[in-house]
């Protein structure tokens, strides 16, 4: 790999020796998150996608199921399969799980035992505390012994741990859009923790490729609606992460809304500050926190986040406003729920785990 890096391996050059590529597999590639992951991996100059699995589509080629991938370089040989985990762990160095919540846990153990490193995009390993898992997901965790071993895959926060992790749990889309807004302030202890209120708006792919009347075109188009109040499952990971950084139990208010577009999340957060602090000082906190982050864009004083500026990208756009009328701070972010909120972030973790430049395959 070292040698290959020197030679400048890249998407368009074919002379790269195959050992310079990392063999990867995607388990459960039939949903929107899995499809986006495959799209990004196919373009990734350092990844070689050796297997794509799906119970539903086993035997079909990628292009049959996702016509948008046909004739893309490398896709012709790819066919959905259904190999044993142990066998997969043998073939691929890093394995992505894009399975529904609950099913990922079953796969992780044999894959890890087989020697593979795992990047899980489900909610199964995002929570450290098995009690919280049970409270929010309604049943005991199937492999609690792995809970403490997973690293929460938010590279801006846990980069170092991710680099060495065997098991990475990629954050949910809402949590990504919320935590990157809140954590810099929490770390500086300038927020009244009880005051945190979060409103989020999500495009419809956020619900996954769920064949349910609620997500039919004519039920969503020209429709907007709050939902999941007051205890959306994502609260469990959001509050656990906030609590870790606050050093005390944090409980927040969170209201998601469904909005008629394909991709994107807008999050707007209101907080009371613990002390008089001016807008410049707040700006400094964010500038310091995200100065070297390739995917965090601070929009400054005049712009607002807009999902169309992040759609299809791994960026999170962030804006802040201190309201002189109420002294509250308003934090706003925009992400693409399928990229920075899921598959792009997984690739970013992959880059960190493999020591590649973090933007590889993502710009």
């Amino acid at each position: 790999m070292k040698k290959a890096a020197k030679a400048g391996g890249c998407a368009q050059s074919f002379e790269v020796e195959s050992d310079s590529l990392t063999k990867v597999a995607v388990i459960g590639a039939s949903g929107y998150v899995g499809e986006e992951l495959v799209r990004l991996l196919l373009r990734h100059p350092r990844a070689e996608l050796v297997a794509v699995t799906s119970r539903q589509f086993a035997g079909k080629t990628l292009a049959e199921i996702f016509p948008r991938f046909s004739q893309l370089q490398k896709t012709s040989r790819l066919r959905f399969s259904q190999p044993e985990p142990a066998q997969l762990a043998h073939r691929a160095k890093i394995i992505f799980l894009a399975l529904p919540h609950g099913r990922a846990a079953e796969f992780a153990k044999p894959l890890l035992q087989g020697g593979a490193r795992v990047i899980d995009l489900s909610a199964d390993f995002r929570i450290e505390d098995a009690k919280i898992y049970k409270e929010f997901y309604g049943h005991d965790h199937p492999v609690p012994e792995l809970l403490g071993k997973a690293v929460y895959g938010l590279p801006e926060i846990y980069r170092k741990k991710i680099a060495d992790a065997k098991l990475v749990a990629c954050p949910g889309c809402y949590p990504t859009s919320i935590l990157l807004l809140l954590l810099p302030l929490i770390r500086e202890q300038v927020v009244n923790l009880a005051s945190i209120l979060v409103t989020s708006l999500s495009g419809v792919t956020g619900a996954g490729r769920k064949v349910d009347a609620d997500y039919l075109f004519a039920e969503c188009n020209e429709s907007m609606r709050p939902y999941g109040i007051p205890k959306h499952r994502h609260l469990s990971e959001i509050e656990e992460q906030l609590s870790i950084f606050a050093g005390e139990k944090v409980t927040i208010q969170f209201t998601p809304h469904l909005v008629p577009l394909n991709r994107g999340i807008i999050t707007t957060i209101y907080v009371d500050l613990t002390e008089r602090i001016d807008a410049d000082s707040i700006d400094s906190i964010y500038k310091k926190a995200y100065r070297d982050e390739p995917f965090v864009r601070l929009l400054g004083d005049t712009l607002f986040p807009d999902t169309k500026n992040v759609a299809g990208t791994n960026f999170i756009d962030i804006a802040l406003r201190l309201d002189p009328r109420t002294s509250r701070l308003i934090l706003m972010s925009a992400i693409d729920n399928l990229v920075k909120g899921a598959s792009g972030q997984a690739i970013q973790c992959f880059n960190v785990m493999r020591g590649y430049p973090e933007t590889t395959g993502l710009l």
Copy 2:
């Protein structure tokens, strides 16, 4: 009029004596609000639309400008005109102003002097206090002597005053969706006034038929964005109304968002209650407040407001949830910004002013 009511005047019957109809006019009918107002008046069984004015379209027929109206009963004779206010006041008993903010004020005075009653859909007369007007609109009010005389056109709150009003100022779309959620609680004094936080989502017609790059299809489709932070103009009327009912100055947090659909507003409000109060008691407050209101629908414990259920109607759908985790109360509403948020509410005021059943022409 009494006689007509007995005779059962209705949209489809032509034998109704013309004196049983109220002659009305619409000034400035070229925007979305004006167009919707014309649509509703054309269907209204007790209104006779005698004039529709527009500088831009003077001389053209309604059907040329709004092809959707062609061949509707009564529209064939209607042509956009540009009459003098005094002359209009002579021809129509009630005159609707659907003009941009700032221009309505000029028209109101001569119309009132001419003896007409005026229903203004702009922001010009929504605020009682000339200082607040100047603070939010940036210039002195052109006819401050009329400010105190206008009645705020929210029938659920000011029905009696509207009945006798000469000048009605219809609320803005955001204020309608917000005030009908908050006022019952404010009147009962169970809300911590400093805690009120409002997030609203609006469809694109909320911006009017403004020919601006920001509202082009490809700039709005697949886009969501917060805007107007922290001091949207609608705050002036919202806070003035809240203050009147609270008996003290109220300052709230308000964040509007632009969302890709034509019609609809979703408002989500968070409040702290002043005392321990259970969900049933809150429900009772709303049931009492809105028991006999024909256009307020309380959704109960399982449903959430959805703009598709109110689109094209004058309903406001309301849901409440008490969050046991944070003890905050979450209030949610859905309206059609062009109907209950503007033209439908204007018709509702018209019905009140004329003593017609309040739902006339609106169901």
Copy 3:
């Protein structure tokens, strides 16, 4: 009934004697067509909706299933039921079938035997010829003896027959948008029959409330696609009707496309004329054909049909252009697939059957 008509019964007056209303029922009211039918019947001043049936929703109120109907006049008492056909035929004078193709046929026979008149919105009775039915629908017709007794429910063409019909088969949405464009020319024998080419674009409700991955929001939004080529089922009724008026077997080209909006069909047809005929003569043919039609709007030389002008209405907007470069005639129409293309047309038929003014409840 006669008496009631004199008295001027209308939506807003409650003193109308109940015998002046026609009792109606809707069987299978859970799809988009059924829902729209219920919406229109609830507003109809001469219809009393006595029953709404649904296997799926039996026992629930209308408002539980369609929250948009709650608090509408008259809906509170309505609950989905599942009565026997014979019993229904006893309670309602006219019964609408809004069932999937294939299931309507089973219901029609007992209803007719019970003395009710039936307006069927499915495809089951649209075709006279049992062989054509079999060819396009793949199985024998379940009640072939009724085939010849149904009247094709296109009032602009079959008004007189509809007035006395026991069984009316409402046309499909595509056929309505196509036949009203073609029939005037076919009757005048000025079209080269072999030259007829039809392209149609349909909104997504055209597919019904089918819970299928193809109709999920994210599969339709930002998507357009032709489908159903070359032998869409609607061809059977289109060609049968054209053949009847042409006096010979007509075969046309027809390509439907799915387009991301809720409601609306645009049809564009190309024909060669049999003789040199000027634009004025063609205009005259359409003016003569549709002069007194309340729901046909001829747009003239400058406008084009646009679905937004017909959405929610029973209008069909029609435009013609003679192309001097190719001598072909281009015919274009716009309808709302759920109104003029289904439920509105059914109401129009109902009005004809009951001798009410044809626009009753539809403007």
Copy 4:
């Protein structure tokens, strides 16, 4: 450059010597086509974008005008400028013109004289015949001496000429979607030329970033409409190209429709074949024509083109159906109007002109 090609220059490697990159400039980068061109050039591993010009935005950075580009590699130094053509020709080897029709012609001459090669995305040089230009564009061509020198930039057809061209005129979006469907058949002389009928559907970016009431969100959303009948300007280039390959003057029927999505064109064409020819033979014609084409995807017998499968890509998806009922052949294609229909195709031409692999920067 030769040397660099060997070394394998790519987007992510920074050690590439700058002489291995081709210096390019974009004139008029403020519309949707210009923006997309900039997006693609920023990702292109062999292009160095040295200047981006705009009268409107001169002095601003790219990121200020297009926030979606901020923090992308290389954009920080880029600022909109307004240099003299001669000066630009000195700085950049290949210059893209993304100007409105009519303005591109003025720029081309001095740029060519200055030694640059020009890729024009406007309509100014697409037509060889000055008379046709005048007929369709309404005025004499400003630099008729250049007309015959431009190469029509459809690489699948004119690859060799493009390789050496000084001036390339990129086809319009409709023409691309139409010509790639028709030319294989025309070359084989199996089509009845008088029979060609084309229906196209376009997303709203096809109209450009035109600030006009017709393209406001609420005028396009939930709207579909035919337009530009019978003589859309794109007919001039379509018919000229068809005529060249047919060896005789070809006149076709063409109807464009505006449809509510951002990106995409669906084209459906009907043709009569000159002789009995079976489906397999037609397939063979297309397979032969496009066997080695990296951006043409033949969908086979079961799939239909769908804009969502080509959005954001340079692919054209093609499907064919022979209708046994009418013996007509139906040809269908899907492209992204901003990529294969404009900027992607311009990049493809650029790759051909520079001898790069044709997919460079486009997969």
